[in-house]
């Protein structure tokens, strides 16, 4: 007991501890990512070309927006299955407004607001009733997808506004705009989760709702915020997709939420809440992005790609789970 006690002494945080703690936490993901990276570098001719790498970054950006928001949701102990439909819904709003001649920045603002609003509604229902987030957001997914099909009659909207097409298709120097947004979203999420009081409150909420409430944390507000944030990120994702495709397709974003969940869990964030972080999610999105890209470069049949992706995700998540169990055992009980 004596030897345990003296360790409570005041210690200065060590410099360079950030990288070390990043590596101990995410060693599995980093190694996995490097293996995939090395394999593809040797197995394909053009994986390492700057053209291809920028391409991968552009492809993963939309998944990154929603995965960042989803990380906060999983940390709070929730889940969001409505992402794909919110993308289509807000993409449709932007598309209609743009076709009606509304300036792009108003279209974009309305679209993001619409995403935030539907997310807020989900968050409101979840926080004021005790319905499971799984069911609430799944219902929302179905309602919004239906709405999009009803309003568009399943027709594609073709876009012509230059500013709209620049939003997702253009670039800043050699960096595509979607990648710029991606970096901003990652930084913002990191700041919320790791540097703000709100972030601590999120970890507390997911770690033990009751204790959080008894500590005076306003859990309901946090829930509304994260689902609204998730809706907003889905809308951003929808805008970028729509812009890049130069058209709004009613089936836009179908299945997106599953890729996001896979990426976040692959990044070590627990579905049980209270644990995880956005850096892991970045790694998770990168892994899934490289796998998708690599399978394309290897010219694998797209049906086989689904199977391959599923197996790889399963293995990666299993390895992470093993590592966590070992770490838990090492810390005592």
């Amino acid at each position: 007991m004596e030897k345990e006690k003296k360790n409570t002494e005041f210690k200065m945080p060590k410099m360079g501890g950030g990288l070390r703690s990043f590596l101990t936490q995410y060693i599995g993901q980093v190694v996995f990512l490097l293996l995939v990276f090395l394999f593809l570098s040797f197995a394909t001719d053009n994986f390492l070309s700057s053209q291809n790498l920028i391409n991968v970054m552009r492809q993963i950006s939309t998944n990154m927006y929603v995965s960042c928001a989803l990380t906060m949701i999983l940390i709070c102990g929730g889940i969001d299955l409505s992402t794909g439909s919110v993308m289509a819904f807000s993409g449709m709003i932007a598309g209609f407004l743009s076709l009606a001649g509304v300036p792009f920045w108003i279209c974009a603002a309305c679209s993001l607001l619409a995403g935030a609003a539907v997310g807020f509604v989900s968050g409101f229902i979840i926080s004021s009733t005790n319905l499971p987030p799984f069911i609430v957001t799944y219902s929302m997914q179905s309602i919004l997808r239906g709405t999009v099909y009803v309003i568009t009659s399943a027709n594609v909207l073709r876009l012509t506004d230059e500013a709209f097409l620049e939003f997702g298709g253009g670039s800043l120097g050699f960096i595509p705009w979607p990648v710029v947004y991606m970096i901003l979203v990652i930084i913002a999420t990191y700041m919320i989760l790791n540097l703000s009081r709100l972030g601590r409150h999120m970890y507390a909420t997911g770690g033990n709702v009751k204790a959080a409430e008894f500590s005076g944390i306003r859990v309901k507000r946090i829930r509304r915020f994260i689902y609204a944030a998730s809706g907003t990120m889905a809308a951003l994702s929808g805008l970028v997709y729509t812009s890049r495709n130069t058209s709004m397709q009613p089936a836009l974003g179908t299945g997106m939420e599953m890729d996001a969940i896979a990426a976040v869990v692959l990044g070590g964030t627990s579905m049980g809440g209270g644990q995880g972080g956005v850096l892991g999610t970045v790694l998770g999105v990168l892994i899934i992005g490289f796998i998708n890209n690599g399978l394309n470069l290897l010219r694998m049949n797209s049906f086989w790609q689904y199977i391959c992706k599923g197996v790889v995700i399963l293995i990666a998540v299993y390895l992470d789970d093993m590592k966590n169990k070992r770490m838990l055992r090492a810390t005592g009980k």
């Binding site: 006690k5 409570t8 210690k11 703000s196 601590r200 204790a211 500590s215 005076g216 209270g274």
Partner: protein, 493 residues
Amino acid sequence: MENYLLEMSGIHKRFPGVHALKGAQLKLRAGEVHALVGENGSGKSTLLNVLGGIISKDEGEIRINGQPVSINGVLDAQRAGISIIHQELVLVPYLSIAENIYINREPMRGGRVDYKTMYTTAQKFIDDLGLSLDAREKVVRLTIAQQQMVEIVKAVSFNAKIIAMDEPTSSLSDKEIDALFHNIRSLKARGIGIIYISHRLSELSTIADTVTVLRDGETVAAMPVAQTNNDEIVRLMVGREVTNYYTRTYNSPGEVLLDVKGLCSPKVEDVSFTLRAGEILGIAGLVGAGRTETVKAILGLDQRTKGEILFLGKPLRAKDPMDAYRQGIAYIPENRREEGIIPLQTVRFNTTLKVLQKFIHGIRVNRTEESRITAQYMNQLSVKAASQLTRLQNLSGGNQQKVVIASWLATDPKLIIMDEPTRGIDVGAKAEIYALMNSLAQQGIGIIMISSELPEIINMSDRVLVMREGKISKVLSRDQISQEEIMKYAVNI
């Protein structure tokens, strides 16, 4: 050589970083109730889990009726006639009593479960023990005490020779405890050996025949209960003389901190009292008398229907607890695990959760200040943890409770409400918490302490509110406080 039903000797178990059992031993005779006591972390549960086949031992020998047995799993233990009733009951709520008793060994006929046989045999076991339970009742409808009875019936139906109970009385009322003891005696009469783990030493003289004391994974004593007393057992448990178990220096109370007038909520009626600075006000009463509900109504966790609350002379309008907290009221809840701690987070995270504004401004985090605050309160409460980054789930109950208290002290409260502050924590940590309460009171902090443990109410309080059926039935001043007086007003006579 004497005949023992069970002999566990030289049991060692090492976990990474912890040598949990260091040659522990336990000898149990048939038809005896054998108490197993020790502080949290002394290895009681580990020893029980070794016996039950839940964890495997590294070294040591287990003999039953003199024959060595090897227990490598729960099934081995069952076959050897060992049944363990855990503190957290593990029955399936939406199945009937009979289905729970026969789970995984349902009587079959023609490839289908033979429910008729299952219900009749289960009912027979229940009746044999003289219990009034219906084998067809769903477990979810039973009280904790009744669920415990089902566990006992289940153990008997396995033909268990050894039944181990881990803190069976921790969530039972006095009446239910009497019923449990009655059942334990009838098990004894059948020649079953009973291992009984409890933190309530006062129970031992009533129910136990012999006692084994564990400390730091070693057996430090084993003796008949009749030849010892609680003081000696406590000394053996902590390994030193516990002087001044209760620390209390009374000082003249200061200004009125809290003035509650005619408080009503759906669960309490017309509650009025005052609390002065430097005073410890005990709230006693039976479970369900409205003690916790009173403080919840004050804090705004429960809705307030009538009445006025003045805090430092100003009306306290608490719609949610945040309002109360901001004005300097702290609330240490009753169920530490469910309401107090974030188990997966670190000591540092938990300690500073309520004072983030002291070191996080916008997105600037002052890590130095954060660890300084944590260190300050860890030292003040002598929290025993490997480091500030130890997860709460890896601390003992007493240390978890200290962290909860630390996190509230960090908010510089003027009034602290403690609901069952020492429930489920060991004697050493209890004494430390009493000493802390005393020094807080001396600093002029007002404390409201809800407790079901009469000794701590009697020894720590300046005044005691006794509650019954949602109302205050009596306010006892210091010279009036006694066990008899409290019980008189707590129970409707």
